[in-house]
Amino acid sequence: MNQIIKFILLLSSIMLFRPGFSQNQTDICINEVMTINSNGPIDNFGHHVAWIEIFNSSYGSVNIANMYLTDDVNNPRKYQLPIDNRMVLSPRSYCLFYFDGNSEHGVFHSNFKLDSTGFIALYASNATTLIDSVSFSFSKADQTCARSIDGEGDWVVSDSYTPGQTNETESKIKTAELFVQYDPIGIGMALVAFSVVMCALALLYFMFKLLSNLFQTKVTVKNKKESILAVSNQDDIQVLSGEINAAIALAIHLYRNEMHDHEEAVITIKKVTKTYSPWSSKLYMLRQTPNKPVQNPFKRK
């Protein structure tokens, strides 16, 4: 028994202290590149060096350790990303790699430099699967080549740069930021939006109120013409209880949806006659005429 408890404890400890990665390296992509860096972001040594931005496009953590960065198509294994806790990218997050040719400066510094015109590729940890690549050419300093939409947009050369941040700087973020700026508690948005919902449904209310009046008027006129006699019997009309109404409604519903019992046979009081026809004769249906069995001549009587 003790052994079972020990085993369970051991298994639990393995489960509890293991990091749980369930993501794929194919969700990683190159998101932004800057090679001529004169006034752009600085690395942890205060130097302006070429950099690229890596983006995790998935909604789960991805470990990018052991993946490869290269600027040479024939040599995918040029720089292997080191094994480090910081190589686990959280969902929809970014990280920068500096290309100063000095990998001793830290895990985010590669062992080669990037030229102003060239190519950068990211390979999976098997060094054969190409994950992402981009060719670039910069004419002046501090230009970047970036995806218009994080992780999926077209590559655009721009004078503005957003290291470690989303490239979608225009409309989307602007709207949300404006809301935070002008309406921090959301009362304006809530009032406007609620009024729109109310207006939309109030319009439907007025429209159907109008329609209902129109249809009811039509029905009334029709009824007046057709059932003058029924007016004399007004006193006989009884108010039906809810149960009776429900039973009638159910019966109509079943009838309309053809859910009532369907009788195959026809019940009639007429006499059913079966006239003889050779086509329905049992005799003509047989494939062989049955013979009387021949009696055994040797049987003793």
């Binding site: 393995i14 293991r18 194919t26």
Partner: protein, 383 residues
């Protein structure tokens, strides 16, 4: 390396691939929640059509594995990832709305159009939750996605959160469906608190018969009016009204039968399973998720409050004999038909012969339209 060492090494590698080697406490917690969902669905009959796929999806999504084998829902190229595409890109919710349109009878609403306004009033839960979420530090997009839980409409919640806050979608969907299942628990105390005994005994005028022509005109007028005001609600409202036209036209019975039968069943299976599987421990078990659950409950309370109070206010302007029983106000949230059933249940507790179900179905289906319109507005403001 001897054969034995090689074998041992392979075995070690195999162990690395097993779920036991990759399991964390979070995975165990999420699998347990999945099992609770399945239990509630089977034993307590709480929204079984939704909770069984979601609960099982939670188990599927939280069986840990070695990364890179194209198994997980977030791994590009995996089967689950392909199925999840319909959720991320908002494909499934409009298809569900098509089925809902094909199976909904709007007669109660057409016969008494006042009930439209109750459906609109109950949407206050969405905007109330939006404000509270902002105050708690959520971004405007996240707050919008969380607020839509108050609409009590799973597909709408999934649709909007997939656009505004995809990373919160799992928590929002699970929260919305959980509270929809708990409508019979959440709403009655609020309804009793806000109404007097006299109000609960109000008998409403029986709904008039609605002609076929009116029923056919409803989806056409409905889409034209609502989508001209809020075009961003087109994917949901368009499909809802299209499905209803298929039903009411009377000449497309086969299409209507498919929309309300096999199609909605297939999409429900896919959406339930993938939303459940998307609640992986690493993305789901966060403080944000706890906040979302708390805000979801708050939004349901505000929505119920809004619906019931609006009925009471409306009664101030209505003549005797035309008054509305405020117990149908809760049905303004679009949890069809559960919230209408709650109205009937509570009404019966005070008067056995007062049947509120048909009346409550009016605001209930108006709530479906209202929450889709609200989602459209949120989308156009915050996307």
């Amino acid at each position: 390396m001897s054969f034995f060492e090689f074998l041992l090494q392979r075995f070690e590698q195999f162990f690395q691939y097993t779920a036991f080697a990759n399991m964390t406490l979070g995975h165990i917690v999420m699998i347990s929640i999945g099992l609770i969902f399945i239990y509630l669905a089977i034993a307590k009959d709480y929204e079984p059509l939704l909770l069984v796929p979601i609960g099982f999806g939670m188990i599927v999504g939280n069986i840990p594995f070695y990364p890179g084998l194209k198994l997980g829902i977030y791994e590009t190229g995996s089967v689950m990832n392909y199925l999840y595409f319909g959720v991320i890109q908002g494909v499934y919710p409009p298809l569900i709305f098509l089925g809902i349109g094909a199976m909904t009878d709007f007669s109660a609403l057409i016969s008494n159009p006042k009930l439209f306004l109750i459906g609109a009033a109950a949407q206050i839960g969405i905007f109330g939750a939006y404000m509270v979420s902002l105050a708690l530090g959520f971004s405007p997009q996240e707050a919008g996605a969380i607020g839509i839980i108050g609409g009590a409409d799973g597909p709408t919640a999934i649709f909007l959160s997939s656009k505004l806050a995809p990373d919160l979608m799992g928590a929002i969907a699970v929260s919305a469906y959980s509270y929809m299942a708990l409508v019979p628990v959440i709403q009655p105390p609020i309804m009793r608190l806000l109404t007097s005994k006299k109000e609960r005994l109000i008998r409403m005028k029986p709904p008039r018969a609605v002609s076929k022509r009116e029923k056919i005109l409803f989806p056409i007028i409905g889409i034209l009016l609502t989508c001209f005001i809020v075009p961003s609600g087109l994917p949901l409202l368009g499909m809802l009204f299209f499905g209803n036209l298929l039903k009411e036209s009377g000449v497309t019975k086969r299409l209507a039968d498919t929309a309300k039968g096999p199609l909605i069943d297939i999409v429900t299976i896919l959406i339930g399973l993938t939303v459940g599987a998307s609640t992986q421990a690493t993305t789901f078990l966060t403080t944000k998720s706890v906040g979302i659950f708390a805000l979801g409950a708050a939004s349901f309370v505000i929505a119920t409050f809004g619906g019931v109070m609006f009925c009471k206010i409306l009664n101030l302007f209505l003549k005797p004999g035309r008054k509305i029983n405020p117990l149908i106000g809760n049905a303004g949230v679009s949890a069809v038909p559960d919230s209408a059933r709650v109205s009937q249940m509570i009404g019966q507790q005070y008067d056995k012969t007062n049947h509120l179900l048909m009346h409550a179905m009016g605001p209930n289906v108006a709530g479906v339209i209202g929450s889709a319109v609200a989602a459209g507005i949120m989308l156009s403001f915050l996307y």
